[in-house]
Amino acid sequence: MNAENRNWVAVGALDDIPRQGARVVKTLAGCIAVFRTADDEVYALDDRCPHKGGPLSQGIVHGASVTCPLHNWVFDLATGLARGADEGSVAVTAAKVEGGQVLLAADDLARAARP
């Protein structure tokens, strides 16, 4: 689908997420972690580490990466791919900011909602 034509769902204000932090968006299927970097980029990943299910939203955000709080796996926020020696990935939900509001792509959320 052309990104321009996607439907977007507003989930809250950018300022509700701390810089270098994350908040959780609950969906029927599970939680999405929405990250805000130091330079106000926004990313969204499934809130579940592929290693042992750790909540990535609780990790430390550095650059465009997050470190899982349970066993320190590091994920690239843009691609969802594990960094370093670890292998694995988490699903990415497209995210953007418009007018101070954080928007998530509806079709990605729907996919998350229908596992």
Binding site: V9, Q20, V25, T27, L28, V34, G54, P55, Q58, L104
Partner: protein, 817 residues
């Protein structure tokens, strides 16, 4: 019988070293009195440059603290400049009216910086570079910014220029000669050095003859004018053009003086009861300004004072430049001559230049730039006048290339003879180091430094010393090579902590910028460490960065494998009551908490709580009087106790009361890693205090304080810190040792690892033996507690960090379609 009186005029490095030799080899020979014109104890003058550049502080460079003088019964008069020696009456008198009689007198007045007789030399802002006052004045000027003009392109001038640049000033370096350090370097190396300084943003003007220093109109320095008319604006002018032996006192006393105070090979002046050493003397026509010869003299003089017959026959000197990032070594004589040959190696890409000057198959001079590891080896060959014809073809490549295949560095050190000099600053040879390691059972670099002084001054031979330790100890030595903190920096924890203090860095982005972090936002390893260091170092100024804390310290509960949390309220000293237990039971029922467990630290853990329930759980616990137990924190956890004299028939003290008191005093403090304590009421030790980070075992006579135990990954019994009589003293000692650890520990390094790293005796020395330091640590802890002792749970019940506990949004199926 009274001991003969030894009086020393001057308290610099040479007499300091001389006394060490004297006390080591002939203790109790003399009653020693020192007159020091400077108002302080003895420090390492070689290390002024790192102080100027901010890489070290004054405390780091003290060689003999107050306790050293006390321990050796030395009377030290600080700020007492000797104005008169009465050779007939055998007394000395200071300007402030102190008089002391001597049987033997040592004159060690050192040297004075040479002031170029330029018009304007007396203006405010014209400085020299000689002692700590000078450094303080330069640092003070650097704070205000502007331009510094440094006159003199020798060792001191270069170090001053580099240091001032690092402190943020614009710097112009003026040198009269066509190349820098022309007395130690040949023109090629001098050129490389000038290029390096220019790369650092320092303006280097060669063949620059200063003409006058101009007034800015207020009696302060405004500019420097050169002979060719060039005018350079200047906020300060540093003259670093050399030193002159300080001989005024000796001259007034009628001792024989040429350029310096004339001494014979036995270090005696023209008066048989008066000796001299250091930079003030002239020996066989030579005056020395480097430290190694002074130490040679010190050893000879110490022996002669004790009745020996040693002779000093002069020194060949080697020089190292102490500017971080510039490796430069030179030794001997490298002038060209018909009877001399030279071997030169250049590697422009690597910035390496090496030159050896040979005469009759022997090395007479060596200049190394960019790569100096072989310096001591060349210097050794030079001093021994070793015939190098056999290895001439490969000599320049260094020791590793002699005798076939390249050797590893340890093998190169192994090949050095026992009398090869390892530490040039302190004149320590290989044999002395290996022998001391074996005899004293040393396993740490700090231990070797403490016992031999090797690598304890400028530190550039640290690598060699470590290789020697490796060699001597084999696998038992775990090289303390500086481990970078994480992949974002080359710096180790110690360097980062020191630079945070010395550069006054007060935010994480500031640290990353100033210390040249290689990543944009750090990583999950360095960010929590930096956050801790800043919290610990600037308790009143630093704004804690929650996003740099591990989730447990952000959520104030322990994350569990399923993403739920556990909650442990504080039970002071492990004491509780029916009301508290009832409140816990009610909370467990209300929030359907699936598991409740008694912890090893004498309190109760509630496991499996949903994150969004945490504030409500805390609200209910708070109503019953509970505060956070910090069971999740790199901070003070529990103080375990036994019932002591309250109930126990064996109890010797109120161990419960002391435990509660310690916990109430120290809760809320952040530490490098968790801190668990215990207080046992008698040596039966029911609270298991002897495997804790800090423990107390009460005895009839008082309180035995323990530290550095472990009962986790490692099992280790505690070390005894000391025995004190009262509860107040016990609290002061405990707080002080924890504060020392807070200031020095590496993040995530438990007390037992920190103490092993720095040495148990060092901890005892600072905490038990030095009441002043102990009080200072205590006061700094108390100050930091003003900002730390806030219950994080009640804050969050009141709404702080609400976002942490609630979802941002709940998206229904319809919205997502």
């Amino acid at each position: 019988m009274t001991k003969p009186k030894l009086v020393i005029v001057g308290n610099g490095m040479a007499p300091g070293r001389m006394l060490e030799f004297l006390f080591d080899n002939s203790p109790d020979t003399f009653d020693v009195t020192i007159f020091n014109a400077e108002p302080r104890v003895n420090y390492n003058r070689l290390m002024l440059s790192p102080v100027l550049s901010g890489e070290k502080c004054y405390d780091d460079i003290i060689t003999h603290g107050n306790d050293w003088y006390a321990q050796h019964n030395v009377t030290l008069h600080k700020g007492a400049k000797v104005s008169m020696i009465d050779r007939a009456a055998k007394t000395v008198t200071s300007e402030n009216g102190l008089t002391a009689a001597y049987d033997k007198l040592v004159v060690a007045t050192g040297s004075n910086p040479f002031i170029i007789p330029l018009p304007g030399k007396e203006l405010d802002g014209v400085l020299t570079y000689r002692d700590l006052e000078d450094v303080e004045k330069m640092l003070d000027a650097a704070q205000r910014g502007g331009r510094a003009v440094v006159i003199g392109g020798g060792l001191l001038g270069l170090e001053a220029a580099a240091g001032l640049k690092m402190q943020g000033m614009d710097v112009t370096l003026l040198h009269l000669m066509p190349t820098l350090m022309e007395r130690q370097l040949d023109p090629a190396a001098g050129h490389l050095l000038a290029e390096e300084f220019k790369r650092r943003g320092i303006d280097v003007l060669l063949k620059a003859n200063s003409h006058e220093i101009l007034d800015d109109g207020t009696g302060r320095v405004g500019a420097v004018r050169l002979d060719d008319g060039t005018k350079i604006t200047a906020n300060i002018v540093v003259m670093a053009v050399g030193i002159r032996p300080a001989t005024t006192l000796a001259q007034a006393t009628g001792l024989e003086v040429n350029r310096g105070i004339v001494v014979g090979d036995d270090m005696r002046t023209s008066d048989p009861d008066i000796f001299a050493l250091g930079e003030c003397v002239e020996h066989r026509g030579t005056c020395y300004g480097l430290v190694a010869p002074l130490y040679d003299m010190a050893e000879v003089l110490a022996d002669n004072l004790a009745g020996g017959h040693s002779a000093y026959t002069g020194s060949i000197t080697a020089t190292k430049l102490k500017v971080t990032g510039v490796d430069l070594y030179s030794a001997g004589d490298f002038a060209e001559g018909d009877d001399r040959e030279e071997i030169v190696l250049r590697d422009a890409a690597a910035g390496v230049y090496k030159r050896l000057v040979l005469k009759e198959d022997r090395i007479v001079g060596a200049v190394l730039y960019g790569e100096t590891a072989d310096g001591p080896w060349f210097f050794d060959l030079l001093k021994k006048r070793a015939d190098v014809s056999e290895m001439r073809d490969t000599l320049i490549f260094g020791q590793a290339y002699q005798g076939g295949a390249p050797l590893d560095p340890t093998a190169a050190v192994a090949a050095l003879p026992d009398d090869a000099e390892i530490c040039g600053c302190n004149g320590v040879c290989k044999g002395k180091i290996t022998k001391t390691i074996t005899e004293k059972g040393l396993t740490s670099l700090d231990g070797v430094r403490a016992h031999t002084k090797a690598s304890a001054s400028c530190g550039t031979c640290t690598g060699l010393v470590e290789q020697l330790m490796q060699l001597t100890l084999g696998d038992a030595y775990n090289p303390a090579a500086v481990q970078p903190m994480c992949g974002c920096t080359q710096l180790g924890h110690d360097d980062v902590r020191r630079l945070i203090k010395s550069k006054g860095l007060k935010t994480i982005p500031d640290v990353m910028q100033q210390l040249e972090w290689s990543s944009s936002g750090g990583c999950a390893k360095c960010r929590p460490a930096l956050n801790y260091y800043l919290v610990s170092d600037w308790p009143d100024e630093y704004a804690d960065d929650y996003q740099s804390r591990f989730i447990n310290e952000r959520a104030h509960a322990n994350i569990q494998k399923d993403g739920t949390y556990s909650v442990v309220p504080r039970m002071w000293g492990g004491m509780t009551s029916s009301t508290e237990l009832r409140a816990i039971a009610d909370v467990v029922d209300k929030f359907e908490i699936p598991a409740v467990k008694v912890t090893g630290g004498q309190r109760i853990d509630m496991l499996g709580i949903r994150k969004e329930d945490l504030p409500a759980v805390w609200a209910d616990l708070g109503k019953a009087g509970f505060v956070s137990g910090h069971a999740y924190a790199k901070g003070l956890r529990t103080v375990k106790t036994c019932v002591g004299t309250n109930w126990c028939r064996f109890g010797t003290q109120d161990s419960t009361g002391l435990g509660v008191r310690i916990e109430k005093f120290m809760w809320g403090s952040w530490t490098p890693a968790k801190v668990k304590m215990a207080v046992s009421g008698c040596p039966r030790n029911c609270a298991e205090a002897t495997c804790k980070d800090v423990g107390v075992v009460c005895v009839d006579g008082g309180f035995e304080i323990h530290f550095a135990g472990a009962a986790g990954l490692d099992i280790k019994g505690t070390e005894v810190l000391g025995l004190v009589k009262t509860e107040d003293e016990a609290l002061e000692h405990i707080v002080a040792v924890v504060q020392m650890y807070r200031e020095q520990g590496h993040y995530l390094e438990r007390i037992y690892k920190w103490a092993r790293r720095i040495g148990y005796d060092e901890v005892r020395r600072q905490i038990v033996d030095d009441a002043g330091r102990r009080a200072a640590y205590f006061d700094r802890f108390v100050f930091s507690q003003k900002f730390a002792q806030v219950d994080p749970w009640s804050e969050r019940v009141s709404g702080k960090d609400k976002h942490e506990f609630n979802p941002l949004a709940i998206v229904s199926a319809e919205a997502a379609e």
